[in-house]
């Protein structure tokens, strides 16, 4: 794969991620609407929202750091997508493996945290403190699942994991070969999306939407963009790790949407856990399941 192909992939992959992400956001809002017995927004609504926010006349910033932080968020999510292999395009997944991807996924969160700090609003700071605490909570089962999966496949390179799963058929998919880890993984990824019952960091009525309290205009618009990228990334990552990737775009997108659908459907029927309850629950059940799955992997290894 030569350099020009690589450059093309680097340019194209984030665009695809953005577009698919927008549709995922739409699905999220449609599902919520249906649960609440509404119709929901039209198809292009997520895009309209972003354009509206960017074109607002009043754009209020709380300092250079806030601008830089939001740019960092944008840059981080774009970079993240380039390392996420999709059917036909590996991008840079051969230059940075699963571990790199996981840490790259933390860069936009860090950027957001810095920007919110620069806003000097305690609601935002509280929100970030809760978000980081929740990160500590959900990353533990997630990491255990990642460790188990890597040892089970014998590699941390995502394209290779996909190749192994596709070569050996459905029985080698993550959900079949390491079901406990897949279960722990879906729970952890649901928490990673920050959806109920783990959306304490937003808590709209309590801390005025937390990190987003001072964000408006293009700042909020960028956060919307980040949300669409995040839904896409989580869905694709789970599909690559546990659902065998995709031989072609059709099967791939079906799997991605299925994963995200599970998450956004479940979120509608839950209230919200407190911060220490988030920790307690995530460190008990998904972690226990993941450890059991890991034990199975190690015994078979």
């Amino acid at each position: 794969m030569d350099l020009t192909e690589l450059i093309v992939e680097i340019l194209v992959m984030p665009m695809i991620a953005f577009l698919v992400g927008l549709v995922l956001v739409l699905m999220m809002r449609k599902v919520r609407a249906r649960v609440e017995r509404r119709i929901g927004p039209p198809f292009l609504q997520p895009l309209y929202d972003i354009i509206k926010l960017y074109s607002k006349h009043t754009q209020i910033s709380h300092g250079v750091m806030m601008d830089i932080a939001v740019i960092m968020v944008l840059g981080g999510v774009i970079t993240m997508e380039v390392f996420l292999p999709v059917p036909g395009m590996n991008g840079l997944a051969l230059q940075g493996d699963l571990l790199t991807l996981i840490y790259l996924m933390m860069v936009p969160s860090l950027g957001l945290a810095l920007g919110v700090g620069a806003c000097a609003n305690p609601n935002g700071s509280i929100g970030i403190s809760r978000a980081l605490t929740a990160m500590l909570a959900y990353d533990v089962p997630f990491i255990i699942a990642v460790a188990g999966v890597s040892i089970s496949y014998g590699t941390t390179s995502l394209p290779e994991m996909i190749a192994i799963q596709q070569a050996q058929g459905v029985q080698s998919w993550g959900v079949a070969s390491v079901p406990l880890l897949a279960l722990a993984g879906i729970i952890a990824m649901h928490a990673m999306l920050g959806k109920e019952p783990f959306e304490i960091y937003v808590a709209p009525a309590e801390i005025a939407t937390g990190p987003m309290v001072e964000m408006s205009g293009k700042y909020l618009g960028t956060l919307f963009v980040m949300q669409s990228f995040q839904l896409y990334a989580i869905g694709v990552l789970y599909t690559n790790l546990f659902l065998g990737g995709g031989e072609n775009w059709l099967t791939f997108l079906v799997k991605v949407f299925a994963v995200v659908f599970v998450s956004v459907a479940v979120t509608n029927v839950f209230p919200r856990y407190k911060t220490d309850d988030v920790l307690r629950w995530l460190w008990k059940w998904p972690t226990g399941i993941a450890l059991a799955g890991l034990a199975v992997v190690m015994l078979n290894a």
């Binding site: 960092m72 840490y103 990491i143 890597s150 290894a301």
Partner: protein
């Protein structure tokens, strides 16, 4: 080629110059020059060392009491020496300008710093166990001097360090003498051969004695209690120097014993009875616990310097863990982390010192919003905490990646999870550090402070840039690590300028950082040209639910930043190691009182009578 004698001679000259002229205003600049010369000698020698299996030999050799003491610096010692002299260089630079002028007792500061460098060079150049011990004691006492020079709480913490260090030194001396008595020699090569043929029980005794002694300096759990306060309370850039490299001397000596003299293969053969663990697992788990526990203690700290000092303890665990995995990648990760850690820990301590210099406090509950007043310090701290957290694009990510990958490749998932949990805790803790210091609302009393002068910001920024560059081009630092790894007898890790390629997952920082920077550029384009111009509001113009804010209203969230987490975790912290330490001290005091009482009130004639009786009975019975 300029040899070891020139280097040590120059270091000795530095000590003498600092002792004579350390109170002059330009002493810091003189120190900078001298340390730069030492660094130059080291770098020049490095070219020779990497060419072959070379060592830097010294012409000094003594034959004392049947032992031959020699000094020669191998690649491993060279690697640590470069970091040592570099840290001293930046410390001296920082203290050369305004900071030094504002402090009393700078002569002792400069002399202690130079003495530390000299002692460390002597330690790093040892060629047999006895010269290692002599260098070790010199380093311990030099560290004590630099910690206690100002008095106050640092001196109390230094005293505690002294007791730990003496206990460790006695363990090392015991192990050393055991080796001499059994094997008859103390030179490294001979001891290596002797230990290969020795029975397991003997190797266990030697490993535990020497290992525990060196682990005290490295602050491995459970010998770690002294380091938090000792490094945190040491004033000024001396804390940066200590944090960057001082406890790594323990790692150096521990590596010589575990990896060079005994060897990982032997460690894996030595099983702990009644368990399925072996000696290597013991050390690996001690390292893992050292990663987790001090990191979470750092989370509870409210003083910025103590927070950084506790993180320093935790990061040492990564280094040992990587080296205990046994693969070339793990060893490279562990050794690289020594350099990376020094490159981001030093600027972090320097920033906190700068903030304390301007505001008079390092208490995280009393700071906030300084980003508008001290932007360069903010940038340095930002680079430092990204490095400490181990996120791309900084160099901390590279060494941590190497350690994680090696753990997964060696199929040690629990240790991998422990290492990552440590990183997660670090991310939380460093965010609190930067948020409470630079973000949030500015306090009224700090409204007028200025940024620190160039003599202080230049070394900080330069170190941050060094961390960034060695993260962008990790191959450069990995070349230096090769020199050390070869001297340790471990296979080398094949790498290129951007990182590492393996069949089961690669890392190429050139692409990662390049794409990240490009993406940030694209993001900036979208941001600035996609929307309208933003208008910057006043820092106090925040959303407050309709309420008007004035500067008197403290609208800042900093105290007990992770309240929810702490509510859960705090009861788990039993302080068992502290309890054990207090128990030992109480026992010593109790025994002391008993003996003291005996000497004051003993009715010795009774003892004499008993002894006479026994003696005569034995005589009559014969």
């Amino acid at each position: 080629m300029i040899g070891l004698d020139a280097l040590v001679g120059l270091a000795l000259l530095t000590v003498l110059v600092m002792f004579a002229l350390g109170s002059r205003v330009w002493a810091g600049w003189a120190g900078l020059l001298l340390y730069a010369l030492q660094l130059g000698i080291l770098v020049a020698a490095g070219a020779d060392l990497s060419a072959g299996d070379g060592v830097l030999t010294s012409s000094l050799s003594l034959a004392i009491l049947g032992n031959e003491l020699r000094w020669e610096m191998s690649g491993l010692g060279w690697y640590f020496a470069v970091i040592t002299v570099g840290a001293a260089l930046f410390t001296s630079w920082y203290a050369a300008g305004e900071w030094g002028r504002a402090q009393p007792g700078m002569r002792l500061f400069h002399t202690a710093l130079a003495a530390n460098v000299l002692a460390m060079l002597v330690l790093l150049a040892s060629a047999d166990l006895l010269s290692l011990f002599i260098g070790w004691e010199l380093v311990s006492w030099a560290s004590y001097l630099i910690m206690t020079q100002r008095g106050g709480p640092a001196a109390a913490a230094a005293y505690r360090y002294l007791l730990y260090a003496m206990a460790g030194a006695m363990a090392i001396l015991g192990g050393l003498v055991l080796v001499q008595v059994e094997l008859g020699t103390l030179g490294f090569a001979a001891v290596r051969d002797g230990l290969a043929g020795a029975p397991d029980g003997f190797v266990w005794a030697v490993m535990l004695l020497l290992g525990a002694g060196f682990a005290v300096k490295m602050a491995l759990v459970p010998f770690h209690l002294w380091q938090g306060e000792a490094y945190g309370e040491t004033p000024g850039p001396a804390a940066a120097f200590l944090g960057a490299i001082s406890s790594r001397m323990g790692l150096f000596a521990l590596l010589i014993v575990l990896v060079d003299l005994i060897g990982l293969a032997r460690l894996m053969e030595m099983a702990i009875p009644y368990t399925f663990l072996d000696a290597r697992d013991l050390w690996a788990w001690m390292a893992a616990i050292t990663i987790i526990v001090p990191t979470f203690v750092a989370l509870t700290q409210n003083d910025a310097r103590m927070l950084l000092a506790w993180h320093g303890i935790g990061q040492g665990g990564y280094m040992l863990l990587g080296l205990m995995v046994g693969t070339p990648m793990g060893a490279a990760g562990g050794l690289l982390h020594v350099f990376n850690y020094a490159s981001y820990q030093a600027p972090l301590f320097l920033v906190v010192t700068a903030v304390a210099h301007r505001t008079g406090t390092a208490d995280l509950d009393r700071l906030g919003g300084l980003i508008t007043r001290m932007p360069l310090s903010y940038v340095t701290m930002l680079l430092g905490i990204i490095g400490l957290a181990g996120l791309p694009p900084m160099n901390g990510f590279v060494s941590k990646w190497l350690v994680y990958k090696s753990l997964l490749d060696a199929q040690m998932p629990l240790l991998f999870v422990a290492a990552v949990v440590g990183t997660l805790g670090t991310i939380l803790s460093v965010y609190k550090l930067i948020h409470n210091t630079f973000l949030g609302q500015l306090r009224m009393e700090h409204a007028g402070i200025r940024e620190v002068p160039w003599s202080m910001t230049a070394p900080m920024l330069l170190l941050g840039a060094l961390a960034f560059i060695s993260g962008f081009f990790p191959g450069l630092a990995l070349d230096a690590v090769d020199v050390a790894q070869r001297a340790l007898g471990v296979e080398l890790l094949p790498h290129h300028l951007g990182g590492v390629y393996t069949a089961t997952g690669s890392l190429n920082m050139l692409w990662v950082v390049g794409v990240l920077l490009a993406a940030i550029g694209v993001g900036a384009l979208i941001f600035y040209f996609g929307g309208n111009r933003s208008y910057h509001t006043h820092q106090l113009d925040n959303y407050a639910g309709g309420h008007f804010l004035t500067s008197k209203v403290q609208y800042h969230y900093s105290h007990d930043f992770y309240a929810g987490l702490m509510r859960l975790i705090r009861p788990w912290y039993r302080g068992s190691v502290q309890w054990a330490e207090r128990g030992l001290v109480s026992l010593a005091n109790l025994l002391g009182t008993t003996m003291h009482g005996f000497y004051r009130t003993a009715y010795t004639p009774i003892y004499l009578l008993v002894a006479v009786f026994i003696g005569l009975w034995m005589a009559v019975a014969s």
